[in-house]
Amino acid sequence: MMSLPFFGLLAGFGCVATGRRRAALLLWALSMLVMLGLFRLHVTDALTIVL
């Protein structure tokens, strides 16, 4: 699952190389959403700092 954003961006690079800009942007946006979702799943412990 952690590799999904990389493969999403790889597919996006494929779209860039073949001239499909809109599809490339869509794949980038999806990859970033997956990345943020994975960030949320991995950040579970509280920080020991005072703000």
Partner: protein, 188 residues
Amino acid sequence: MSPSASRSLNAVGLLAVSLVLIAAFLDQFVLGELPCPLCLLQRVGFVGAAFGLALNVAFGPRPSHYAVTILSACFGGAVSVRQVLGHIVPGTGTYGSAILGLHFYTWALIIFGVIVLGCAALLFFERQFTGPEAGPSRATAFGSAMLALAAFLALANGVSTVLECGGGLCPDNPVSYQLLSDPRLPGR
């Protein structure tokens, strides 16, 4: 700045971001330090930043392409900030080795900041968006090569992550490549 000069500059930026990803790979394979989950997400941020630069190289400079790079750097930077804060209190340990006194996640935060500042600086040159060559045209050989390099690094990171984490989430402190050391796999 002319559109073609902007494209060349973006190709150089693409090379610079690719070198960051190559440095991370060298640390992984030469020093044997497996990237943690947050480290992997920071790499995604770098590939995303490279993606915006690649859009500029391939389709010509547009503000939306710079936005792709800036947003990716912000997302990657947010992950870096979280990891820095996790280790900022003395005695809470660190992850990985340090280069020139700073750990990889701290360097990543600095580089993400440089990427954002660099894009903001380039956005001041408005003639790159309106010049006669601002429309779509073929990327230069150097630009195409940098685009291929960035795509290869996205692939290499994807494959490496599958080997390290399998199909699920990565452990917080990975010690081996799950897919290479799982005894339940056939033939082992």
